[in-house]
Structure formats: structure tokens, C-alpha cells
């Protein structure tokens, strides 16, 4: 496969998808390189989550193509895309509620584990070694997310903010190159949001990844992202640096007068079930 060094990490060209008559996403393009933090904003129902679903293979795009390091991935299944290096979180949290916190992470390690069924059943030395390595890796990750104390609690018992952070930790456990965060600050209090911001900033350096961030809270988006794309009714209406976006009349109009700087999140009402 073509895999040149100058190929961008993630190259999305003109992807689109229609549900019945509704073009949920139309001609969406994006380039993302390592170390970049790109924001994706837009009013409710603009198609942001659908973009994530296209990028992660939940839906196959009708048009356009998605390349990861030059390799086309838009025909791959979600688990293959995860293997290729795109990890995500969900708008409405999707943890494995009965599994413990560390097991949630261990599931994500399954992808890179070299265990075999026979090894597991006979508990071969290699299997036990692999299991222990995975556990160490996950504990280290939990430590970074300040969740190590709760590693044996069921994920469902964590408080809301912790669950959101656990979802990010779980996504990182698949060793991704691109991390997609769908409204990570939703439902957090201002103090938690501040912590989240520094956490996300730390991820860029600590894990050598690129991040695509959907967020309604403008204070979070404007502070974090160096580039922002604005969607409305599936169409990209603006792309640029935060200052340009804030000044863009089309963006202001799309938000129907809602002040962009303070734009409080409207209720996330019709959250799509795959969100």
C-alpha cells in the first residue's frame, strides 16, 4: 500500500452519508496530523456524531474516502478501524457497566494481545506473562487518569465525571493514533471542565496522537483547539482558527444568535442511539 511519509495521518476527503432523504453529512473533508487538536462544532443535529460514526466504520460513507496514513479505511469494519488506530468515546457514555474499571481497559487491550485460546485454557507461561503485561499497562493508564484507586470497582459505580474519563482511558488503551472525543465535557461541572482541559492537553504530548474533539462548550473548544470546523445541517460552513471562527458571520447565524463565546450547550436531546 502507498504509505508515504508525507501522507497526513488522517485524510478525509468529501465524505457524505444520507439517511433516507436526509443528508446527515455532506462533503466533509479534514486533514489531521500528529499533535494536532482539531475541534468539530455545530448546532444540535448538525452531523458531528455522524462524522465520528463514519470515521469509525459504524456507517460506510456514500461518497468520498478516508485514509489513515495513506491507507483507505472507509470500507473497513469498526474493529478493523480500531486496529488501524482510530479510537473514540461516545456522546452518551458506553462503558461495560458490570466489568470492573480495569477490565474495561483490558477489553480494549484485546486487540493488541497475542493470547491464543489454547494458551488461555492451559494457562501457558506466555499467556500469564501477556496477561500481566496488559494489567500493568492498564494500571499505568488508570494511574494517569487518577482512577487507579477504583480499578476493581464496577464501571457503573463510578461517578459521572469519572465515567467520562474512564471512557477516554479505555480509548487510549487500544494505542490509537487518532482519538475522537464526542462531547467529553458534557454534564461536567466547571471545575471538572478545567481538569479535563489540562488532561486533554496532556494527552497530545504524552501519547503522541492527534485529537478530534466535538464539544458544545465553547470555552473548552476555543481554549484547546488550534483548528476548528463548523458543521450545520451536514455541511461544513467554516474552518479556521478559533478567532476566525468566532468572527465568522455564517457561524454566528448558524447558532441563531446564541453568543458563540458563551454558547451554553443546548440540551442534547435527540442523541442518536449510536452516539
Amino acid at each position: 500500500m502507498i504509505q508515504t511519509h508525507d501522507a497526513p495521518l488522517l485524510d478525509v476527503r468529501d465524505i457524505g452519508i444520507a439517511f433516507g432523504g436526509l443528508r446527515a453529512v455532506d462533503h466533509f473533508s479534514l486533514r489531521l496530523d500528529l499533535g494536532q487538536l482539531h475541534g468539530l462544532i455545530g448546532p444540535n443535529g448538525a452531523g458531528k456524531t455522524t462524522c465520528f460514526n463514519l470515521l469509525t466504520g459504524v456507517y460506510a460513507p456514500d461518497t468520498g474516502e478516508i485514509r489513515l496514513r495513506g491507507r483507505p479505511i472507509h470500507h473497513s469494519r469498526p474493529h478493523q478501524i480500531a486496529g488501524a488506530g482510530i479510537a473514540r468515546t461516545f456522546q452518551n457514555i458506553r462503558l461495560f457497566p458490570h466489568l470492573s474499571v480495569i477490565e474495561n481497559l483490558l477489553v480494549a487491550c484485546h486487540l493488541r494481545s497475542r493470547q491464543t485460546i489454547a494458551g488461555a485454557i492451559f494457562e501457558s507461561r506466555k499467556h500469564l506473562e501477556d496477561e500481566r503485561m496488559m494489567e500493568h499497562k492498564c494500571l499505568a493508564l488508570l494511574d494517569r487518569f487518577e482512577l487507579a484507586d477504583q480499578s476493581d470497582e464496577p464501571a457503573a459505580s463510578l461517578c459521572y465525571g469519572d465515567q467520562r474519563r474512564l471512557e477516554i482511558a479505555r480509548a487510549l488503551a487500544i494505542d490509537p493514533k487518532v482519538l475522537l472525543l464526542d462531547e467529553p465535557a458534557a454534564g461536567m461541572n466547571p471545575q471538572e471542565k478545567v481538569q479535563l482541559k489540562s488532561l486533554i492537553r496532556g494527552l497530545l504530548e504524552g501519547f503522541n496522537i492527534a485529537i478530534l474533539l466535538i464539544e458544545h462548550d465553547m470555552s473548552v473548544v476555543m481554549d484547546l483547539c488550534e483548528q476548528i470546523t463548523v458543521l450545520d445541517h451536514g455541511c461544513t460552513i467554516a474552518t479556521g482558527a478559533p478567532a476566525e471562527i468566532q468572527a465568522d458571520p455564517k457561524v454566528i447565524e448558524a447558532y441563531l444568535g446564541a453568543s458563540v463565546e458563551t454558547g451554553e450547550p443546548e440540551e442534547e436531546g435527540t442523541a442518536d442511539e449510536r452516539g
Partner: protein, 419 residues
């Protein structure tokens, strides 16, 4: 052996559990009949078969969260294949299926050969059942929930009808050699009458050994990355897929493993003394028994499946000939109070009323000369309904016996590693 770092309980050597299982099987196999007689040995074998069925179905219904209600189909396939191999092997070798002995109490010089044939027959039964599981699993696991249930149910009925259409059995070596192609295909396994004279090879030794193998398999699977991935599918399929779990492949595997062990259970049943395998064993009633065991025990809990399989098998026998149970009930209550001191009062009230209800039902049945055994499906269904109301997660929920033991400590924050 690999020792866990400080703070972890060290692991037992991996070979310990299989050896313990072997020892248990030998001891039980040697003493049970002498101490308790044939009847108890037979119930013991039935319990082992039920445990294999319930634990294996739990891999599909409990781990991956699919809903298969056709487990008996694989059970019957395994039983018929294993029975066919050992029956016709002994017709061919000794011209008689009857001279078989047990490996622990040899009554014939051929015992080593016979045991070998028996084990091969069981394995082949398991493998053919697993193949059937794979064939059914591949297309149907793309279906969800109710649709999968209907497909598995239909598969069971298909197997039942196909078994009814099989040829008449062949009873002597000379007939076997003279048989025409039409008589050999479909296989000569007795049609609607059932398959008789299968050598009675199943002893408590084999039953316990294979039940332990099945439990150990499920246990280690559950603790491995594959088991966790399967459970992740149950917990949240979309998230599991997004985290890189190949859900189709794991679902098919779960189906294949479950079918394999169901096939083994069928083989044990086919070779059990006092039973006779027939097309009806592939049908819905048998499947339903297993589903009840898994749901009562708790979806995903191996401990729960073992317990429910044991209780229901004993209950089944009890219904045929109800004896006093209050002393057993009180013993169980005492055990419960020792293990779990919380909610004492509730436990006492519940247990006493359960004992009273069972004893009451028993005396009424005896007075009116009702055969409770005929009502077992009704009674089990009622148990299921009561359970769904009182404790919908089943006896053990998704937990295991080991969760009752003191928590293993894990190093907390500040633990050596850094990213």
C-alpha cells in the same frame, strides 16, 4: 512459576486444577457406587451432564449475551454421533454391544480398547456438534436477540425431525456387512424409536472428569482476554466493536465451544445406564431445561450455572418421589447465615417460608396421590417466574464463587509504573 508482584495473590500452578479434577473424578468414581449405590451414582451422572450443558450454554447466553434456546440440538447430535461410533465399533469388533466394562471396575479384558473407543466417540460427538454449531452460528449470529432465539429453536426442531427419519438399527455384524447403501444412509440409528443398546460406558468417573474439564474451560476462558471480550459484547456491543473486538468472530467461537461441550454431554447421556437417547432429546423441552438453569443461576455466572444445574437435577428426582426436605433446608439456611451474615432476618423468613411451602406441597401431593413429576415443566416455569420477580439477575448475578472470598488487593495509586 510466575509470581505476581507484591500486593497480588500469587497464582496457583496451572496444572493444579486439572490434576485436582482428575483426583476428584477417580475418588468419586471409586467410592460412590460402593457407598451410595447405583441410584445415587446415576443422579451424580445426571448432575454432571446438566452442569456441562448449563455451563456451556452460559458461554453463549451468559458471556456474549446472545439468546440460544436450541442447545439440546447439539446435545442430541453429539449423543447420536458418539453412540453410533461406539455401538457400531463394538458390533464390528465383538459382534455385541453388551460386554462393556468400566475403566475403574473392569469386567472385561477389552476394557482399555473400550475406554479408548468411548473417549474417541465422545470427542467425535463433540467435534461434529461443534461443526454444527459453526454452521448454524455463521449466518444466524448476525441476527440479534429474538431472531437468533427463533433460529436456534428452529434448528433444534429440524434436528429432531431429521433424527426421526433415520434408518432402522442394525444388530449383528453379519447384517452390518450385508447392509446396502440405502440401509446405511441415512445412518442406521433407530429412527423415531430411538437408539437402543448403546454400550453403557458412562461412569461417574468420566462424567465428573468431563464436567470438571468443561467448568475449567469456561472459567479460564472467562478470565482470559477472549472471555472479557465476549462479556464486553454482552455489556455493550457497539462499544466493544469500537474498542477493536471482532464481535462476529467471538460470537461464532462462543457458539462453537458451547456446541462442542453440549455434544460431549450428549455422548455421556447416550452411554448412560438406564437412559435411551431418542429424537425427542433434540427438542425444545430439553433446551428449555438448560435455559432455565442458566437464567436461574445468573447469566454469565459459572458458579450459578453449576448450582442451578445441581439443584434442578435433584429437584427433578425429588418430584418423582418427594421425601422430607426440611433438614436440608435448615442446613442450607445455616450455611447461608455463616457465609453471609448480612440480612439475617430476611434470609430466615424466606428460607422458612420456602421450606414450609415445599413441605406443604409435598404432603398435599402425597395425600391426593398426585405425581408431581408430571408437573415439572409447570413447576420449573413457576420457579423461573418467581425468580424473575424476586431476583431477576439470577442466584449469582454475574458473580462467581471467588467473588465471595476476600478481595484480592491491587496496588493503588503511585504504583511504580509511569507512561
Amino acid at each position: 512459576m510466575i509470581r505476581e508482584s507484591a500486593g497480588h495473590t500469587h497464582r496457583l500452578p496451572p496444572a493444579l486444577a486439572p490434576l485436582a479434577a482428575l483426583a476428584l473424578a477417580i475418588v468419586l468414581g471409586l467410592i460412590s457406587r460402593r457407598l451410595f449405590g447405583d441410584y445415587v451414582e446415576r443422579i451424580g451422572i445426571d448432575i454432571c451432564i446438566a452442569i456441562i450443558l448449563a455451563v456451556s450454554l452460559n458461554i453463549v447466553n451468559g458471556f456474549t449475551g446472545q439468546f440460544s434456546i436450541g442447545h439440546a440440538a447439539f446435545y442430541a447430535i453429539g449423543g447420536y454421533v458418539a453412540g453410533m461410533i461406539s455401538y457400531y465399533a463394538s458390533i464390528q469388533l465383538w459382534d455385541s454391544p453388551t460386554s462393556w466394562g468400566s475403566i475403574l471396575s473392569p469386567t472385561s479384558i477389552n476394557v482399555v480398547y473400550q475406554s479408548l473407543i468411548f473417549v474417541i466417540a465422545l470427542l467425535c460427538g463433540g467435534i461434529v456438534a461443534a461443526l454444527a454449531g459453526w454452521l448454524v452460528g455463521l449466518p444466524s449470529l448476525r441476527l440479534r436477540g429474538d431472531y437468533l432465539a427463533i433460529v436456534t429453536l428452529g434448528f433444534g426442531e429440524i434436528v429432531r425431525v431429521l433424527l426421526q427419519q433415520t434408518n432402522e438399527q442394525i444388530f449383528t455384524r453379519s447384517d452390518l456387512h450385508a447392509a446396502s447403501r440405502d440401509e446405511l444412509f441415512p445412518p442406521p440409528v433407530g429412527g423415531a424409536l430411538g437408539f437402543i443398546n448403546i454400550p453403557k460406558m458412562t461412569s461417574l468417573f468420566w462424567a465428573v472428569l468431563l464436567a470438571c474439564a468443561c467448568v475449567l474451560f469456561a472459567w479460564r476462558l472467562k478470565k482470559s482476554t477472549f472471555g472479557r471480550a465476549m462479556i464486553a459484547i454482552r455489556e455493550n456491543e457497539i462499544a466493544a466493536e469500537a474498542m477493536g473486538v471482532n464481535i462476529t468472530r467471538l460470537k461464532v467461537w462462543a457458539f462453537v465451544f458451547a456446541a462442542f461441550f453440549a455434544g460431549i454431554a450428549g455422548g455421556l447421556y447416550a452411554h448412560e445406564a438406564g437412559t435411551q437417547i431418542g429424537p425427542g432429546d433434540a427438542g425444545f423441552t430439553r433446551s428449555f431445561d438448560v435455559v432455565i438453569m442458566v437464567v436461574l443461576g445468573g447469566l454469565g455466572s459459572i458458579t450459578g450455572s453449576i448450582l442451578a444445574a445441581t439443584i434442578l437435577t435433584i429437584a427433578n428426582e425429588w418430584l418423582r418421589e418427594p421425601t422430607h426436605v426440611w433438614h436440608i433446608g435448615l442446613a442450607l439456611l445455616a450455611l447461608r447465615l455463616m457465609v453471609q451474615p448480612k440480612q439475617r432476618f430476611r434470609a430466615i423468613v424466606w428460607s422458612l417460608s420456602a421450606i414450609a411451602a415445599i413441605e406443604g406441597a409435598r404432603s398435599i401431593a402425597i395425600r391426593l396421590q398426585i405425581d408431581l413429576g408430571e408437573y415439572r415443566m409447570v413447576i420449573f416455569a413457576l420457579m423461573l417466574i418467581v425468580m424473575m420477580i424476586l431476583r431477576p439477575q439470577g442466584l449469582f448475578g454475574t458473580h462467581e464463587f471467588s467473588d465471595l472470598l476476600p478481595r484480592r488487593r491491587r496496588p493503588g495509586r503511585g504504583f511504580e509504573v509511569s507512561t
